[in-house]
């Protein structure tokens, strides 16, 4: 089991610094998670650290493609506004 980074990522490095497994690495066009190293922080922290600090909604998904930070969950911007501004999308 491992988390993944999506194309929403803005390459801000925040997750790299807090990952207990050094599982996150720089790549183009955005950072990636090494699925051999990622443990979803089980045993280390109550919450996966990348998802706990990531400022971008929809940037981190689990193996089912579910957003750990769904649209609106970090900014509090209502869904209808997100849709109006093209900032909303359905989970994979």
């Amino acid at each position: 089991m491992a988390l993944q980074i999506t194309e929403s990522c803005v390459n801000c490095w925040a997750c790299v610094d807090v990952c207990p497994n050094d599982a996150i690495f720089q790549d183009k066009p955005h950072f990636l998670i090494d699925d051999m190293k990622c443990t979803e922080c089980l045993g280390d922290h109550a919450d996966p650290q990348c998802a706990a600090i990531c400022p971008i909604e929809m940037a981190i998904v689990n193996e089912l493609g579910e957003f750990l930070n769904p649209p609106g969950s970090l900014t509090g911007i209502p869904i209808e506004k997100l849709k109006e501004f093209g900032l909303w999308r359905e989970a994979a």
């Binding site: 801000c12 109550a46 650290q49 971008i56």
Partner: protein, 500 residues
């Protein structure tokens, strides 16, 4: 340490000459400051209204990560066309940042200040931020370093900030009430958790206030930035101003909310109104009763280069810097000439005439003197001085070097001047300690001095001097330097014989 706050109520600007609107801090505000603080801010464009016409600053974008979310910020920082905080066009590694700073400093000698301001929170990127400061303090010792932060990780980094000689810290404090904070900060990342709402805001506020206090206790100048958000913290900012002043902040910079839907921020998308110029000014005026206000802020990008209000970042992209050949040793010499010229011009505008070192024989060695000064004059009793200002006199003139703290050994009683009041044990050790603080100085200037410290100073090879009470410090230092020169003690032994 208590820092004096610049007064805005002083005489109004005459020919302060700022072309843009929203500028108008009393330009002579600096002249109210003690010398050691004036020396720290007189060439800092973000701290001194006057300096911003002459001196330039730059930011290097080495700090992308952030540990909080603000409703006026969008973490999609990558934009080359917008001019606002938190936006940059290319992130730099510390090594790239050093290259860029040296290139800019060589090309723009007026550039005196290097700040790290994002595009995230510098202290949420401690390794990249402090690596940059570390290298710069070695390679470009003539550049002032400063850092801005949201304050969440500030307390744990205060010692490191002091270690790198970072003299200026800006903390963004938008509120002191967690209920209001919850409307500005949807979450923070704290001890491995995302903490939302009032609970998160409360932690952030506590950390900011603690950090502010720790910095001012260490004598580091703190500017507080606040974003004026109509309907959220507009009335509340007066209280913020009062509290941060009490805690020792030196300057308060209230900036208008920038909120456009195309920026994609919460306030932008929710069409939150920005304050009008009149609303901003009204609030700045209301806060000015409690606190010196900064009104010349241009809300620059986290990679800005040049004078405030201009951005020459395009001239210094990494591809251009890679082909520049910088001789920084040579650049430092040119930079010093330019800085001295500007400072002299500013001093002349303020009516400060530097005493000329006439009649000092060439080749005379420099002398360090400690001054118990206040408001630019030799004003303090030796035993009452909380700190000594250290000046160097040389054939080049007089310059301020640093300040050294003392511990009061005199409790302020009438007869204390003779050093015979306080119990023996305590008096002895504190006085001895203070004399040790003056190591390296050959003279100590004060308004008055007791019999006992006089003897001890002489025994330690430091000449006490109470003859220049209430004279301007630099004139007094030069006068004493000339007296020493007249004895021939400033020249190497052989040469002084020749002169004699």
């Amino acid at each position: 340490m208590e820092l004096p706050v610049i007064s805005n109520s002083g005489p109004k600007a005459e020919g302060g000459g700022c072309a843009s609107s929203g500028c108008g801090t009393a330009p002579d505000a600096l002249s109210h400051l003690p010398d050691h603080i004036r020396a720290k801010v007189q060439d800092h464009p973000c701290y001194s209204e006057e300096a911003h016409h002459y001196f330039a600053r730059m930011h290097v974008a080495v700090a992308p990560a952030c540990n909080i979310q603000c409703n006026y910020c969008n973490r999609k920082y990558d934009c080359s066309n917008e001019s606002r905080p938190g936006v940059v066009s290319e992130l730099l590694t510390p090594d790239q940042a050093i290259k860029k700073v040296l290139a800019v400093a060589a090309e723009i000698p007026q550039m005196t200040v290097l700040g790290i301001a994002g595009p995230g929170d510098p202290l949420a990127n401690p390794e990249r931020t402090f690596e940059t400061f570390q290298q710069l303090s070695e390679k470009a010792p003539d550049i002032k370093l400063c850092v801005s932060t949201n304050g969440l990780s500030l307390p744990e980094h205060v010692d490191e900030i002091a270690k790198h000689n970072i003299d200026h810290v800006t903390i963004t404090i938008n509120c002191v009430d967690p209920e209001i904070g919850a409307k500005i900060y949807p979450w923070i990342y704290w001890k491995n958790k995302r903490i939302r709402g009032v609970e998160g805001a409360k932690i952030l506020i506590e950390q900011q206030q603690k950090g502010l206090q720790m910095l001012t206790e260490r004598g580091i100048l703190v500017k507080v930035n606040s974003v004026l958000i109509p309907g959220v913290n507009d009335q509340h900012l007066k209280e913020v101003s009062k509290i941060v002043k009490e805690k020792g902040a030196f300057l308060h910079n209230v900036m208008p909310l920038i909120a456009e839907p195309e920026h994609g921020t919460y306030y932008g998308i929710m069409e939150h109104p920005s304050p009008t110029d009149a609303e901003l000014q009204e609030l700045q005026d209301a806060c000015a009763g409690d606190m010196a206000m900064m009104r010349h802020c241009r809300q620059c990008r986290a990679d800005a280069v040049g004078l405030l209000g201009e951005d020459r970042g395009d001239e210094f992209t990494m591809d251009k810097i890679d082909v520049m050949d910088v001789d920084y040793e040579a650049a430092m010499v040119r930079r010093k000439v330019v800085h001295d010229e500007i400072i002299e011009k500013l001093d002349a505008k303020r009516g400060i005439v530097k005493p000329k070192p006439d009649g000092i024989p060439e080749g005379s060695r420099p002398v360090l003197m400690a001054v118990a000064g206040k408001n630019g004059v030799v004003a303090e009793h030796f035993g009452h001085a909380k700190e000594f200002l250290i000046y160097e006199a040389s054939p080049e003139g007089v310059r301020f070097i640093s300040h050294r703290k003392t511990e009061l050994y005199c409790g302020g009683m009438d007869s204390c001047g003779d050093g015979d009041v306080v119990e023996d044990g305590a008096t002895e050790s504190l006085l001895d300690r203070n004399i040790r603080v003056l190591e390296g100085c050959e003279v100590v200037l004060c308004s008055k001095i007791g019999y006992e410290p006089w003897g001890k100073l002489e025994a330690a090879g430091i000449a006490p001097n109470g003859e220049h009470a209430m004279e301007p410090i630099e004139e007094a230092v030069m006068a004493v330097y000339k007296e020493i020169a007249a004895t021939g003690k400033l020249l190497p032994a052989a040469e002084s014989l020749k002169v004699a």
